[in-house]
Assembly symmetry: C2
Homo-oligomer: 328 residues x 2
Amino acid sequence: MKILIIGAAGMIGRKLTERLAKDAKLGHEAIEKLILADVIAPTAVRAPGIEIEAHELDIVSEDAVSSLIAARPDLVFHLAAIVSGEAELDFDKGYAINLDGTRYLFDAIRREGQEQPYCPRVVFSSSIAVFGAPFPDKIGDEFFSTPKTSYGTQKAIGELLLSDYSRRGFFDGVGIRLPTICIRPGKPNKAASGFFSNILREPLVGQEAVLPVEENVRHWHASPRSAVGFLLHAATMDTAPLGVRRNLNMPGLSATVGEQIEALRRVAGKKAAALIRKARDPMVADMVDGWARDFDAQRATSLGFVADASFDDIIKAHIEDELGGTLP
Amino acid sequence: MKILIIGAAGMIGRKLTERLAKDAKLGHEAIEKLILADVIAPTAVRAPGIEIEAHELDIVSEDAVSSLIAARPDLVFHLAAIVSGEAELDFDKGYAINLDGTRYLFDAIRREGQEQPYCPRVVFSSSIAVFGAPFPDKIGDEFFSTPKTSYGTQKAIGELLLSDYSRRGFFDGVGIRLPTICIRPGKPNKAASGFFSNILREPLVGQEAVLPVEENVRHWHASPRSAVGFLLHAATMDTAPLGVRRNLNMPGLSATVGEQIEALRRVAGKKAAALIRKARDPMVADMVDGWARDFDAQRATSLGFVADASFDDIIKAHIEDELGGTLP
Ligand SMILES: NC(=O)c1ccc[n+]([C@@H]2O[C@H](COP(=O)([O-])OP(=O)(O)OC[C@H]3O[C@@H](n4cnc5c(N)ncnc54)[C@H](O)[C@@H]3O)[C@@H](O)[C@H]2O)c1
Ligand SMILES: NC(=O)c1ccc[n+]([C@@H]2O[C@H](COP(=O)([O-])OP(=O)(O)OC[C@H]3O[C@@H](n4cnc5c(N)ncnc54)[C@H](O)[C@@H]3O)[C@@H](O)[C@H]2O)c1
């Protein structure tokens, strides 16, 4: 089978690419070709027996997207997006990439099918940012989308398009609302949610990290490994039970910052936990106040999506995947 | 004040225009100018003391929409849309008018405000078609949008844009999810929901009407008069309590077809009710099966929106407004 990953140079895109290259098959089907696309040139992976094609392109170009779809991939992962902070700062850019780019992709697939039947599986990475406070204690599967960011709005619109295009038979879509990915590997970034990862990732390698909120702040998390697991399950699951309701709250782990720190202490010791410096940032604290804290992701769970069991597991997975299995 | 009505030649647009022309004020403010726009030339109304401007234009032209907004109306009613059946038959046309046209309008307002502060009230006519079965017995204010038509999808996207643009301060938007308007005046049309009106409107003037579903079919209705009332309330209400949740389920009347016929019998007699001929249409029956039946529109009710009290009232309002107050 032929798989296209759009946003392949991103954090999740790279992890997904590596996993597919390593597995060399998806479900029962061998992978013949991986097409990687991103506005940043995707780095090649070693994958003996799989043809790898890398494209540096902007999804805000209709032609560029059409040219990717002309290869008629059997499966499309649409991960390209600019994130919350940037979409909030640059209104036009957010709508151009997250909305127009998504629509160009969906329409390219639709048009491709007008010439000759074509109905690929499309997996779309949505976000819990489609929800906006006030929330119930646990957000259920039928809770409404009232995003408080332009990013969340753009994801919610992508979801609606995904459902309608699937209902029409233009493709077979699954939208997965990812929890905040923790521990996000790499350097600390400017995302307001970054501290949830920073306070674990940095101390694990002996670096200090800043905690800008109270320890009782609760949030909804999944590891990068789980995120890749969700994507693969969305790519292979039976979509018949979804009907027109194509977008799913992914399962995750609800934890307070205090619980995260406890887990860090258990896995890496007191010294690591002591590297977290509290410095309340009222602006971050305010933003985080509007974010989802907990979910009852019954539907996705019953459809076979599986999340991390504990924050200890999340930290251990990070040590295995990013730190070669041992602490320095 | 200056008021722009887009979709002014439509059924609701005409009724709204007449009402504004008659009242000559909105809330406490005198109306100085009514700008009517539609792809079908809007018919002039008599409104002494109000300047009337009529534009025949297509909202799928960015320039046309911008030229309307250049007049900086204080209030914009966005009623233009192609309805469910047509948007389902012509995918491109539905997205062009109901999504792109709406976005052109919202962006024209945003751009107008970039030059010099501008933040009009925008009232958007959404629809209960943003919901798709299965439903709870009564749809609550926080139930999710999973439309089963492209029209419903386009309305749901319009709602999300309305909320985000309002949150950003580009305009002050209110989206109202109208129930099915009954009794729709005029000739029977091809809308699948048409029979809910036909079975009352036609017998009232001695004509036969066909009922394609069982009498136990329940649906959610409001009179054209109520719809105009909703629009005026949305135009004048305090929007502060809405926060970012700008879209409201309008109150309405939940009734079975049997209850509609009972009301007809009470208001117009047995002879009128006898003009309804049952001829089950499995296709219509099937579609109607997926439609919303009942709501608990608490939020809108507490915000002061008022619906019809009974189907007798709906029929009497039709007799007053459309038949000169008496039955033939
Ligand atoms: N990481 C999280 O916590 C999280 C949570 C919820 C949802 N998501 C979603 O998952 C997806 C992947 O997230 P991530 O953490 O890997 O983000 P990331 O920012 O690391 O990756 C996104 C990728 O999209 C690419 N991209 C941006 N604009 C593009 C354009 N115009 N054309 C082509 N490519 C473009 C970027 O270059 C980047 O490589 C995104 O859609 C994101 O919104 C992530
Ligand atoms: N009537 C109902 O039962 C009902 C229920 C829910 C929502 N609504 C919504 O209320 C609004 C008004 O409904 P209505 O019953 O008066 O419908 P209508 O069809 O009578 O009026 C819609 C008007 O929009 C105009 N229009 C269509 N495309 C246009 C374009 N490209 N540019 C400019 N004008 C265009 C049409 O010419 C028409 O005059 C619509 O948005 C509709 O979706 C109606």
